[in-house]
């Protein structure tokens, strides 16, 4: 039987060309519109209080699953762990086959072949971190080779990190060139660029980094690695969504946004979807353009979905751990 999970909707696309050259990188950063922290945080907090209709809520919860990158990024990951997670990714709730599969599983390069084998034909994509995740500070040729290798191994999506050392040091052209090189190395795989917003120090910087990554040809910009204490936050995500909205206005190119790290509850996932809806609009409410990277979120969403159906909560033991 051919898999037709929701994730199969993912449209294949040509690798994006950069819309600028490295010599323009400094200008892109300098010209990025300023961001006012108080106003941004106020807006994010106001949107977080929106409540959505029950019908929309079920749809939103399913969308949260369809947009999910089910993630494990531990040194202790094994073949067994990945096989189990892939099964969960395709069929999150064995008792409720109508629940859609997730968009992708996200893992370390060495485990890509396992996931590729497990997920072939299911419509669930394989995403791998690469490029010296999470610091991005290894030798450039090694990082690029890692990216090319996971692409060759069959990863559909590659999550790389922005070189914060270059970016925060003001070496924008070099940071830009690295991204363009990564874009080339990734070939036809979707490229997600992790900004590690928690390390950038200000929302101005988050916006500048967003603009730089989008100009370099990123398919997605992503908030965080999940490896530092500050992960995805509503204001960070809003800041990046506003950048993506402006980038679309300027270039007519739709770039996706991925929030990752610290999203554990259904309520949070719906808050992020509200941000997407109010900032980028309904066009972005698809796994093509919005992702949530999470490991423990899935079961909370499943529990909420069951509650919407049955009117009551069961408990964590009624959902498979992986």
């Amino acid at each position: 039987m051919v898999g037709v999970s929701q994730a199969a909707e993912l449209s294949p696309r040509q690798p994006l060309e950069p819309v600028a050259t490295a010599s323009e990188a400094a200008r892109i950063v300098a010209r990025a519109t300023a961001v006012d922290a108080v106003g941004l945080e106020g807006r994010a907090a106001a949107l977080a209080t929106r409540s959505i209709k029950r019908d929309s809520k079920v749809w939103a919860l399913e969308l949260a699953i369809r947009c999910m990158d089910l993630t494990t990024l531990e040194g202790s990951d094994t073949t067994g762990k990945i096989v189990a997670m892939c099964a969960k990714a395709v069929r999150p709730d064995p008792l409720r086959p109508e629940v859609p599969g997730v968009a992708a599983v996200c893992l370390y390069p060495q485990l890509v072949p396992v996931a590729v084998e497990q997920l072939a034909g299911t419509g669930v994509a394989v995403a791998s971190v690469a490029g010296g995740f999470p610091s991005g500070l290894g030798p450039l040729d090694a990082r690029l080779r890692e990216i090319a290798d996971v692409a060759a191994a069959g990863a559909d999506e590659i999550d790389i990190v922005l070189n914060r050392s270059l970016f925060l040091g003001g070496r924008y052209a070099e940071a830009f060139e690295e991204l363009v090189a990564a874009r080339e190395a990734a070939g036809s795989a979707h490229l997600k660029v992790i900004l590690e917003a928690g390390e950038l120090g200000s929302y101005d910087r988050v916006r500048q980094a967003s603009m730089l990554a989008m100009a370099a040809g990123a398919d997605f910009i992503k908030t965080s690695t999940g490896k530092i204490s500050v992960n995805a936050t509503l204001p960070n995500a809003l800041c990046m969504m506003e950048a993506a909205r402006d980038f679309h206005r300027q270039t007519d190119r739709r770039v996706g946004v991925k929030v990752a790290g610290g999203v554990r509850r259904s309520k949070q996932s719906i808050q992020y979807l509200v941000l997407v809806h109010e900032t980028l609009g309904p066009d972005w409410m698809t796994p093509d353009l919005f992702r949530i990277g999470a490991s423990s979120l899935l079961n909370d969403v499943l529990m909420q979905l069951e509650k919407e159906d049955t009117g009551h909560y069961s408990g964590p033991d009624y959902f498979t751990v992986d």
Binding site: A34, G39, V90
Partner: protein
């Protein structure tokens, strides 16, 4: 290989926010409300009553007494009788009453919020998150000053209350304006007669019940309801001070009738504030600030940022963003917590807005309104933008007091200052720029009582609020707001 499973592609339903209406059960309304005089609700001598409605449904909520001159005189007498004991009370004891009122307001915050939205049409998220908490904060703040008055104004002599204050408040922030007036007056040891606006008397009357529960001595606060005539009677009554918030037109009348009477006067009147966006501004936040500046409380805000001045290089970008944002504004049931823009306060106000908007179209400005469904009953007006506005248009000069924004452009800092100041009003202004020195430069040159930098419509009890020119004189909030209720020469009656 993991087995693939088949599932239908679920069609995306439209993303809908739940109508999340606050229940009105919490509000128990009486059929009729008398005048609150001498600590009790009494029948009006006038024998007249008028209905008060919900502007979002046009349903009658209750009947309210209409006070005539005799009723007002009775209220002023009650305040006069209560004055000696109240001013003689130890300041710390006086503070206890004011603190008690503040706490009661917090206790019953939800009830007040629902009633405020019912009677006035403002979105529940505003009455819940802004009006009621700020009202409580004002009582808390001024309660703290009650026993520290000598230290509040050092080297000014012994502070004493002014006496009896007549206080007339508008319909846009009914409870909050009552708090702005009552809190400093009570803390300073005055007794008061408060007249709420004709269209929004109910939260003030609920506040009267709070005064009773707080066991405030009878006559310290009296509340008389009615329209313009009641207000005029209060202005003419033998009070020691008049505090008025409302239109410039009425403010002028009050100034005329109090001239030469020795009554102290503070006026907080209209405005036509400029929100000035420079090309280096944080644009997405400026959009939120502009939206909040003009659509907060349906634009029924004296300090509303009703003129947007945009530096030409960012005009297109900002206008595009504003139009997009306008589409996402939710207009409708004030009691729904997802509502951004509620009902216009009254039919009369709606007609005034419509008339001014028509004049804008006739004078050649370009109008933009989002598509949104408006409820059939009640008073509603679409959020509206005007572009191509020039300084000479009525919509750039007159206070519309509705959800209507006039957009103008400028080229230089000097031109921005000149245009912003080119109005008979001077209540507030907003400056959006990343450049700190420019903020300070603008704040010095803008003739407005409040200048917000990279934000708008922020209020705090510690911060003075008031106007230049035809926006009035005197300040409310902070120590500046306490001073008009005190005398330092021992000359109070």
């Amino acid at each position: 290989m993991t087995e693939a499973i088949e599932r239908p592609a679920s069609a995306a339903p439209p993303w809908e926010y739940a109508s999340a209406p606050e229940s009105t059960d919490i509000v128990r309304l009486d059929h009729r409300y008398g005048l609150f005089i001498g600590g009790e609700f009494v029948e009006p001598k006038s024998g007249r009553w008028f209905p008060t409605i919900s502007p979002s449904t046009e349903e009658t909520l209750a009947e309210v007494a209409e006070a005539d001159a005799a009723d007002v005189a009775r209220a002023v007498d009650a305040a006069r009788d209560a004055a000696p004991a109240w001013r003689a009370l130890a300041p710390a004891e006086r503070a206890k009453y004011v603190f008690r009122i503040a706490r009661q307001l917090q206790e019953r915050a939800r009830e007040f919020a629902v009633l405020e939205s019912l009677n006035g049409g403002k979105p529940i998220k505003e009455s819940r998150d802004v009006d009621i908490p700020l009202a409580a904060a004002h009582f808390f703040y001024y309660a703290g000053w009650a026993d520290k008055l000598e230290y509040a104004f050092p080297a000014r002599g012994t502070p004493a209350p002014v006496g009896v204050a007549g206080q007339i408040i508008p319909w846009n922030f009914p409870l909050l304006m009552a708090a702005w007036k009552l809190a400093p007056a009570l803390a300073a040891g005055n007794t008061t007669v408060l007249k709420p606006a004709e269209t929004t008397p109910l939260t003030a009357l609920l506040l009267a019940q709070v005064m009773q529960e707080a066991e405030l001595p009878p006559g310290v606060v009296n509340i008389v309801t009615g329209a313009g005539e009641t207000g005029a009677a209060l202005v003419d009554a033998p009070v020691d001070k008049i505090a008025f918030t409302g239109s410039t037109e009425v403010g002028k009348i009050i100034r005329r009738s109090t001239a030469g009477t020795g009554k102290r006067l503070t006026l907080e009147l209209g405005g036509k504030a400029a929100n000035i966006v420079f090309e280096d501004a944080p644009l997405d936040q400026a959009v939120e600030g502009v939206i909040n500046g003009i659509f907060f409380n349906q634009g029924h805000v004296c300090c509303a940022g009703s003129r947007l001045l945009v530096q030409e290089p960012v005009f297109d970008a900002l206008l595009g963003k504003l139009k997009d944002r306008l589409q996402t504004l939710r207009v409708g049931d004030p009691l729904d917590k997802n509502t951004d823009v509620g009902a216009i306060n009254s039919r009369a106000q709606l007609e005034k807005i419509e008339e001014l908007v028509e004049s804008g179209v006739e004078e050649g400005a370009e109008i933009y309104q989002p598509e949104c469904l408006l409820p059939e009953r009640g008073f509603w007006f679409r959020p509206t933008l005007f572009t191509g506005v020039s300084q000479s248009h009525r919509i750039a000069r007159e206070e519309i007091f509705g959800p209507v924004l006039s957009i103008l452009t400028f080229r230089t800092v000097d031109e921005a200052v000149e245009k912003a100041n080119n109005t008979p009003y001077g209540l507030s202004a907003g400056v959006w720029t990343e450049k700190g020195s420019r903020i300070l430069h603008m704040a010095q040159r803008l003739r407005a009582g409040v200048v917000w930098a990279n934000t708008f419509n922020r209020f705090d009890p510690t911060s003075p609020f008031g106007g230049y020119k035809e926006s009035g004189f005197g300040r409310e909030g902070g120590l500046h707001g306490l001073e008009p209720y005190l005398t330092f020469d021992g000359g109070a009656r």
